[in-house]
Symmetry: D2
Subunit: 305 residues, 4 copies
């Protein structure tokens, strides 16, 4: 595995088309597009990695996997009354769908859905408490050096008019229970978690291991829910490129706009890749290629060897 | 396995809510809603089944899996210039998406996509030749008693105005190469294949076995393409209920409006279920429940045991 | 004319179907649905009226005519770079159109368009200054007893999540120049003007008289712009019922959700009607009927006697 | 008037931007873009004209005014159960709206609406009979040299896949009563009427004159229906440019894709202009400018002098 990762890293170093770095906030616009990291954590306790594997990056929407895990723990299946679980067929920040479906987001991985999830997590707390809890949860999955990047959170809020539009719109349909500003404060901060590929691959292991952190005895979430989160990652984890990701990579995955992807190999491993350049749908260009290569060599696709 | 199937069959016999039988053509409207069949074919050559397992039913859209297999064999990856592979976020016969995406259907399993696939298969032939080839192909996957139900094909054509609208619309964008009537003739006949659960489960085995029919040496399609067809089945196989099917069942699957579902367990088995009543999205209500039960007991979900 | 109005008033008193009063804020929900007022002001200085003709009601969206007049005066034809002038084909508060047209509202009479107009009027001022200016302007068209109903404005703000969604959404496309809260403050207050039918009919006279208040020498707006505002009222003044209003009444008109309608007879008169019950599109049911009757008797339709 | 027309004609001869000629069928693509004709027929019997005023051109969608007149005569207000009268907010050949509104077109001037009108006219006849009747009707409004251009009708049919899609789609919702091919045959032929500006201006006079052909005693249609057709022309006659046409010209009008426009001045006159180059919405660029000039000089806008 280590030599496979090194081979892929070497090969992609010289890739000419690296996609376009997200520029909507300065903190992301200034990331070096040459950055590239890969980490593979296995359920039997090994951790392989290459490149910028220890450098923290903004995991952005990948955090939606962790907040969904928490929200399911808190609210259980009642969550699905407030958010769907169907692929959206439109962009991550589309508001059209919300109008057609009366304020119910298509799934927890589009922005509107993750705002609802943030609203669920806020229940009975102040935003800073909820943010601290989320951070504590992710640290418990990975290690204590995971941080919230407050500059990123601040910028997201300053430029977050579309998200504010989504939140107000859902509030109009009574699908938010807290003041819009509080829900958005949680949302913008959970998007601003900074993690390295090694931390992120480690954090995802519970999803590869039936909801249990390998090596610990504590269950994060039930077997069934871990499976179901994987299912939603596969059908909805890459916005309107989810079908293409399933077609090419064949693993449950969740991408972030800063170029990270978390992919789960059920029963086997958790993979984190990072390359800041995005394809036209908004998913990491080289990150997807790296995953495609790994799956091809390992036969890890859930759709058959 | 056999006892599990019998248990599920017994349990579902007494189900009160069986959904609604499709009524848009008389041939489907008159099917007895109490019919229920299940068959599981394994890659190591076993075949388990219960209920109305040998009674032929109209597989309808399930045939889109077989025609996609053929079209990929003929046209290869160029097929993806004419049809996408993203879940649609809308009904199986929606035309809205076609307007937004200039005549390119979202995926090969919505009606518009399957009409494009029919157009590909028609290449250089008369419709009746292409229909005969499709039938011959499905017989080679199953057995020689598979038939086209011409009464169904005729009714589909007689009431097929929305499909005619889709076909004309794509023709306006030059995404059909043959006269609309010829392409539709192929389309309506491939939807009218009659198969029993035992035949259908057997026919799907190549997708569970890396593209090779177990026990034969001949490859139907490459390993990679078999995987990819499974991926498209998982993300797009149940129309706007694909996310829910992945969430609950966790297998690549394709449903038909007459109440059949074909589900693939990569590396292990092919499952066919049939119960004519449909849920509100248009997928078999009890069929989905049966698959959910089978997967729960066997741990066959692709998303983890 | 006076006897015609009395006849219509008498007849409509006994109407059984009076539509449904708007209930989204308590100040509107509590209005007596039996209220009914009509006033006709002619360019030669006469004023006819019946019923609850002197009772102030919330003119709501009718004020968009007056703010558009002001914004055209301030910004001239450059206004049309920020808002269109086409009928919308959708509800007054739809956000779908904004996504398709990148933050440019279809016309100044849908909510999004009137929010842009409020943003124009805010230019270089504090919200309370702009609100005072708008009030002063409407008083100059009518009389000094016109007031802002602050309870209505406050309720609009408290329940104005969809408008906040629209405003944030346009801000994301840089089509608002001021902080969202300030622009909305202006918007919610201009919607909360209280006027009687007599005041409203008088205020609209400049649009019937080529931009000049009859009896005064001062021009409110140029001949050409008065004509153009009338044109937009006719094509867009009744939301997705504008075509029906043109078909049945045949006059430029603007409706409000509290049941008022202002209609203009170019060269002749300005008409205000008020009946709180709305039809399914959101326009006054009896108000429209009253106008239909007036036009039928007078031959005032712009489309021929 | 004659000198005004000559002045406008002279001025527009040298216009640099003449728009783009429609190219979807060869018969239209080959029209000389320098062609320009204007004719003004008054209700008191005068006829002024300039330029290519006697040269027949394909009136295309302008014929929808005449077929609507006939359909209202046949079916009366029941027509409105099968077609709406609201502006569409989308392109002339959009199918999206039909899906949202279950097969009921927005108005009789979008293609789908005119196809319904053709279906109404077909009632109990063979297509060629209905086509002959339409031709006879238009001749009775104008003169006997009006012809159907069969080459145009044939080309429309050969390239008419989008219209075939619309027709099939409405048939699926049972909003066509005849076989799709027959209804389309009527539709394609009524679009292919050839008329000169002088003929067209003359033919429109009944709409300026309360439904009565000036100088004759026979009424084509009632006063009220003439008014209402004018209303629909104003709100829907220029597709998604209807608001702009009302704003700039201020007259009921109907445009055709070959560059003709018929405009009605209620109580006064009927105007026909022809210049083949279209603006980006699909309406005659110079034709609109010519009408704008005529209205500016005459004060004929329905929205005030």
């Amino acid at each position: 595995m280590q030599s496979l990762l090194e081979e892929i890293d070497f090969e992609l170093q010289s890739a000419k088309d690296r996609g376009s770095v997200a520029t909507y906030i300065p903190e992301l616009a200034c990331i070096d597009p040459q950055k590239m990291g890969i980490a593979v954590a296995t359920v039997d306790g090994q951790l392989f990695s290459v490149g910028d594997d220890t450098e923290p990056f903004s995991i952005q929407s990948i955090s939606k996997v962790f907040t969904l895990t928490r929200a399911l723990g808190m609210l259980g299946e009642k969550l699905w009354e407030r958010v769907g679980r169907e692929p959206s067929g439109s962009a991550f920040n589309s508001i059209v769908q919300l109008e057609h479906e009366k304020g119910i987001p298509r799934n927890p991985f589009v922005n509107a859905g993750a705002i609802v999830v943030s609203d669920v997590l806020l229940k009975g707390h102040r935003p800073e408490e909820t943010i601290a809890e989320i951070l504590q949860f992710v640290r418990s999955l990975s290690d204590d050096s995971v941080e919230v990047n407050y500059a990123v959170a601040h910028s997201e809020a300053a430029f977050g008019f579309r998200n504010a539009a989504l939140a107000n719109y859902m509030r109009a349909f009574c699908n938010l229970e807290h003041p819009v500003e509080q829900t958005l404060e949680v949302y913008f901060h959970q998007c601003a978690l900074s993690m390295s590929c090694r931390q992120l691959a480690t954090a995802g292991l519970y999803l590869a291991n039936g909801g249990v952190i390998p090596g610990h005895n504590t269950s994060v979430i039930s077997h069934e829910r871990a499976r179901r989160i994987n299912a939603i990652m596969l059908t909805c984890g890459h916005y309107d490129g989810s079908g293409d990701f399933a077609f090419r990579v064949g693993l449950p995955g969740k991408s972030g706009v800063a170029g990270g992807i978390l992919a789960i190999v059920p029963g086997k491993a958790s993979i984190a890749v990072w390359s800041p350049g995005l394809n036209e749908i908004g998913n990491s260009l080289l990150g997807t290629l790296a995953l495609e290569r790994i799956v091809k060599q390992t036969g890890w696709s859930v759709f058959g060897e």
